[in-house]
Symmetry: C2
Subunit: 328 residues, 2 copies
């Protein structure tokens, strides 16, 4: 079935779409109450975030826009030290969107939400003119435990910098799909709750965390360097990149440091906790290629420096020019 | 300036857009931290909701998509008895969107948020192909005070039904703008916090509340009748409709009972509190035309009945067929 403007009218077609696709897949007591707002248990400190997803194509090796829309928002909550609890989702559908694709996307969201331990508590659907596009906004609410303080501004000299796995996978997968290049690159799109909990439970002193998305690792580390007025020193040989992505980047002249992932995080932790953090990451479901990639120093404040295999020092600038739009 | 795909790349153009338009207008400490999630004070019971806004045209008499996107979500929180606290906003911009229009919309959101007492704590911007459209998702978090229980399922025989003002204004304003009909009809788009607080502070026993939006009053009252397994009896002569909207509806064969508002609510309150609720509404900024329009009975459970001026009884069905899409 093709989506028509009638599905966005608020009338019977809208109800049928909601009942037939969203309620069926997201089925839970809170959502089924169908009130204007969901009333849910709270906590004294909340993390709140939002992200819209416009990825093209909707389905790609390793995921789809639905999985992405849950992972992206769940990971943003986790990076503030919060335990993700509730998601809202707003669908904007273009006329002509395929309801079977929409159902696959909803099922994928539901499955990812279950894995991530979050409940979809509120939703909304609108239809616009267009040519079959599907866009999703998710907003998330998480609980921040007492005492947890994680911020880009808390990095200190001596801290270690880790990344949870290979860089550039999602970006390279989307680009391959869009350029119709056949290869074995798969998006790393994944929720990182297990990994973060593992570090928290082991007592790792985490200073800052970010998921590595649009703009890549370089952009995140620049934010850390600026917010903490410190220097991030990286060792190039420690940066994990898969052979396939390395080859793909070589071919197209891309730098994995600027490429987006959707299931990778970077963490700055107390220097003495580096090995503990590494072992937590590596034992986690999506962290086997995790690595300690550098440390925080006072060398050149506000900058990110990379030591090359030949011993040279390269200043890593922010993303100059433009990345690839619609990768998330 | 026209929005280009580069504004959605996550690179420098995106930052400039965020800093130049959103940060400037939404300026607050929480948002300015620019972390992945906002960490804010919480409460033991939360209301959570989301809504996307795709109204066409973007600017209309009485409001614009920005004002609408704040009012819609704030009102949904209020209707659950919550005090609205935080909003997130996700912009999806089509290529070619006008940055000056976007700035006007952001300024309008900021002003409405101030009036409604909510803080915009997180945001996101994406760009898609298209022809200049602007779409906004807002999600909202509110605090629900202990003891407050408001739900469509709590209506009881003897309760009174009120509406806070004239029906159909927003719908008629959008339709007029779209059909390029010149008249004096203005959208009623407004946040209803003052009105709800006034009733709560006066001790009105509120059973159920809903803002009257897509689908109109008939749709909301049907939800009450179904959820509470009761009969909603209305008196046609008590339904407030402005002369202009009455004339407009007569001309086009529309029924104000099915038309959307964006600054009106209906409330079911204990019968003895009807006059108190009415006086609270009428004293509020957006409630001067409020009226007691009917009561809850056990007559025909699950139905909405309307007594006509001639004493006949009309069964008010749900919205059959389709309303006007893209009114919100």
């Amino acid at each position: 079935m093709k989506i028509t403007m009638a599905h966005g009218s608020g009338g019977r077609a809208t109800s049928q779409l909601i009942t037939g696709i969203f309620e069926k897949n997201f089925n839970n007591d809170i959502l089924s109450r169908m009130e204007d707002s969901a009333v849910v248990a709270g906590s004294s400190r909340l993390a709140v975030t939002t992200d819209s997803f416009v990825v093209n194509p909707l389905f790609f090796p390793g995921g789809d826009i639905g999985k992405l829309s849950v992972c992206g928002t769940v990971n943003d909550l986790l990076m503030s030290g919060a335990c993700p609890k509730y998601l809202t989702c707003g669908f904007i559908l273009e006329e002509g969107a395929d309801s079977e694709e929409l159902e696959k996307i909803a099922a994928s969201m539901a499955q990812t939400a279950r894995e991530a331990g979050v409940t979809i508590v509120a939703g909304d659907t609108k239809v616009i003119e267009g040519s079959g596009g599907i866009y999703i906004n998710t907003a998330g609410v998480g609980f921040v435990p007492e005492g947890v303080q994680i911020s880009a501004s808390l990095c200190e000299e001596g801290d270690a910098v880790l990344v949870s796995g290979n860089l550039g996978d999602h970006h390279a997968a989307i680009l391959s799909a869009r350029m119709e290049i056949t290869n074995s690159i798969v998006s790393d799109c994944a929720p990182l709750g297990e990994m973060v909990r593992s570090m928290q439970e082991a007592g790792v002193r985490i200073k800052a965390m970010r998921d590595v998305t649009r703009g890549g690792l370089a952009t995140v580390l620049h934010e850390f360097a600026a917010a903490s007025d410190c220097c991030v020193e990286l060792t190039q040989s420690c940066l994990p990149v898969s052979d396939q992505v390395k080859g793909f980047c070589g071919l197209l002249g891309l730098d994995p440091l600027y490429m987006g992932n959707e299931g990778k995080m970077t963490a700055v932790v107390a220097g003495e906790d580096a090995e503990l953090a590494l072992s937590c990451m590596q034992k986690s479901k999506y962290g086997e290629a995790a690595a300690i990639i550098g440390h925080i120093s006072g060398k050149e404040r506000g900058k990110v420096l990379l030591t090359t295999p030949l011993g040279g020092i390269r200043v890593i600038t922010e993303l100059i020019g433009e990345g690839l739009p619609r990768i998330c």
